[in-house]
Amino acid sequence: MDNTGQELGLTTKRTQLLKYMTFLMLALLLSLFISASLGAADLPLSTTAAVFLSRLPFLSRVVDTTRVESAAEVILLQIRLPRIVLAMVVGAALATAGVIFQALFRNPMADSWIIGVSPGAALGATIAIVFKIGHGMIGLSVLSLFAFMGAMGTTLFVYRIARTGTAVPVANLLLSGIAAGAFLNALVSLLMMIGQEDLHRIFFWMLGGFTGASWNRVILALPFVLFCVVVVLFFSRDLNLFLLGEERASQLGMETEKVKLILILLASLVASLAVSVSGIIGFVGLITPHTVRLVTGPDHRLLTPTSALAGALIMLVSDTFARLVLSPREIPVGVITAMIGAPFFIYLLRSRKRGLVR
């Protein structure tokens, strides 16, 4: 009877995780190099590799970049790389938020919009644009700040109105989120009517994208997102328990309300950060955990880290397409994710396989 985890086949989980992570890391790295080489000015892969590798410690002395034009170096390091990194950060953030909300709502159709993140961010951004707050000062980061405050504010508001006594029933959260979302969308429409000259800007912000990516934005988002994703990993077991329902989770010893508050805060924080630096990009938070679950199963010890990396990869690839398809014009990346995501989602719905709610 002295079974260890090994005999029970649970260590295979760790091997599995290692396998998925290695695969995704390699895919990310490859995509990074390819994506950086492609664009209005096509650069050979060797140049890209040389520039990037020269920036790594120890390798700088080995790699020879003397023959690389300085223009290419600027394009790669100041334009393409921050955009690539930002796309990855935002993809990972949205996917992680999706994982959390899908577990909390016990529904693979849930996403951060469900609790009001997107409409909140949209309202914040619209206010900043229409009333020209901070315009000409620090410019875009004020817009980000407003979007962030709108998203977080809405989430907390939804959490509060969903509260009954000491508990926050998940069904209440869902309904409050929908109600708040509808109200905020109406406000956004109203503001758009008032600030007609800014319609174009608001519209493009809401479609989402990485056109204005800069190292500043990366620095704004990366540390927080990384921190949140790591913290979420420590809640993997709690996320699993949530799938049994809140009542059962508490019977198995979870402080449900406390953990739920922490998880909602974490999820809204990463989602709000993502939205504030990139606008509203749909479907990545919804599709990524869903698809990953088909491969890894529902155990969050595998699902959470794998989804974060997969989200980064999906966003990077989508953004690369957004840059290239109608080059030199750009398609908003939200259009790409929706155009690929929606049909894929319908396909998933129709082919009820592993991981879908029966």
Binding site: M1, D2, N3, T4, G5, E7, L8, G9, L10, R106, G165, F234, F235, R237, N240, L241, L243, L244, G245, E247, R248, S250, Q251, L252, G253, M254, E255, T256, G297, P298, D299, R354, G355, V357, R358
Partner: protein
């Protein structure tokens, strides 16, 4: 004086949105007791369990677990002390059975730690005990209802708590797993674990529980030793059905047989014929049921106490004239019997054995037929083969038939005859 109880409940009241669900519950449970909670649907049984496991905390009154106020305990502490097997499991995601059982170890696991050898040992034991070890790699969602139930029981056992609550643990199980589950639960209680189980099946409770709490409309109707609570009167009052309660000759425990409402309904019809049954020695029990079923009023006599026919008559609430065990029919019993015969439309003499002791019954029948009553003799076996009174009974039979008594060979014929002459 209040200490030393595993579970102590005083003046427990609970209401959902102002609607009272539980009222005035008092309960003291010692370690190792196996307590059944019975009551009709909506009596508050599941609510009661949800309070005990800490899910519903906005109750009034005092609930103590291990001498500690339940409300002072965190979920984690509660999960170490009390495990509950809920009625339904809602898991819609694909975990394997092993992963599901492993979740039962949650209260012992730290946020930053991995499963320890101890966790695996406990999980393995729990799965062996519930016979779910072979299911460990199967997906929970693909298990049958009974398999799921056993996996959830294993999950609760993996919590290694001293108190185990079960909410209708046998509802999805076939009879063999019902027994196995109850045996397991019983074994756990013998190991010192306190078990409180909501049960649908009165007989499972009767067979396994030491004590029973009978809830009626949110209030305790009775609490005590199983055989003291599970009586015909109490069950009849709480569930609103007629039952017969007997002691099983096999297990020695009480068992409860529900009596179809149809029978009582038909009996209530006015104008149904009254049948008086002369029987004994297990010849009349089936007849009583059959006649009741057909809607006839039934009385019986004279039967010796301890005779199984006497027991049946009592459990069916049939008026019966009785005689002391193993004694001959006395004058007074015979007169009482004649009174019942006066009130009956038909007198049936069952396929019983006759000796000197019960010949008086046949004489009563003879008087009845002489007075013009309808008498039917059920002779599955010929009378001479049942005559242990050196021919006297056989002689009385021929007198009876000469005076107009009817002889039939089987039950269907009998029922037909009684009905025909209505």
């Amino acid at each position: 004086m209040d200490r030393g109880f595993k579970v102590l409940i005083e003046d427990l009241h609970f209401a959902y949105d102002g609607f009272p669900v539980l009222r005035n519950i008092q309960l003291r449970v010692k370690a190792g007791e196996l307590i059944g909670i019975l009551g009709p649907n909506g009596a508050g049984k599941s609510t009661f369990l949800k309070i005990l496991c800490g899910t519903l905390r906005n109750y009034q009154g005092r609930v103590m677990v291990d001498d500690l106020d339940l409300r002072s305990l965190s979920s984690r502490e509660m999960a170490k002390k009390v495990a509950i097997v809920p009625q339904d499991s809602l898991l819609g995601f694909d975990f394997t059975a092993l992963e599901v059982v492993l979740m039962g170890r949650n209260p012992y696991q730290r946020r930053f730690g991995r499963e320890k050898v101890d966790d695996f040992r406990t999980v393995t034991e729990s799965m062996m005990e519930t016979k779910t070890w072979d299911l460990r790699d199967r997906l929970f969602t693909q298990l049958s209802g009974g398999e799921k139930q056993r996996v959830v029981i294993a999950q609760a056992l993996a919590q290694r708590s001293q108190i185990l609550l079960l909410d209708e643990p046998t509802s999805h199980l076939d009879i063999s797993y019902q027994i196995e589950t109850m045996e397991l639960v019983h074994k756990k209680s013998e190991e010192g674990i306190t078990v409180i189980a909501v049960l649908h099946d009165i007989n499972l409770a009767a067979q396994y529980c030491q004590k029973v709490l009978l809830l009626s409309d949110g209030e305790p109707f009775a609490y005590g030793k199983t055989e003291e609570v599970l009586t015909r009167e109490k069950i009849g009052f709480v569930y609103g059905v007629e039952v017969s309660v007997n002691r099983s000759p096999v297990t020695g425990r009480v068992y409860v047989t529900p009596i179809s409402k149809r029978w009582r309904y038909k009996e209530a019809l006015s104008g149904s014929r009254m049948v008086h049954l002369i029987c004994g020695g297990n010849s009349g029990g089936g007849l009583m049921h059959k006649l009741r079923e057909q809607g006839f009023g039934v009385s019986a006599g004279v039967i010796n106490v301890l005779d199984s026919d006497h027991e049946t008559a009592q459990s069916l609430d049939i008026p019966v004239v009785s005689e002391a065990p193993f004694s001959s029919i006395s004058e007074s019993s015979m007169r009482q019997n004649d009174q019942l015969i006066q009130g009956a439309d038909v007198i049936v003499v069952s396929n019983l054995f006759f000796g000197e002791g019960n010949l008086a019954n046949l004489r009563s029948a003879l008087r009845a037929v002489e007075e013009g009553k309808e008498v039917i003799l059920l002779s599955t076996d010929p009378i001479f083969s049942r005559d242990f009174s050196s021919g006297k009974a056989t002689e009385l039979y021929s007198h009876l038939m000469a005076k107009g008594a009817l002889e039939v060979r089987n039950l269907d014929e009998l029922v037909q005859k009684i009905g025909e002459q209505n």
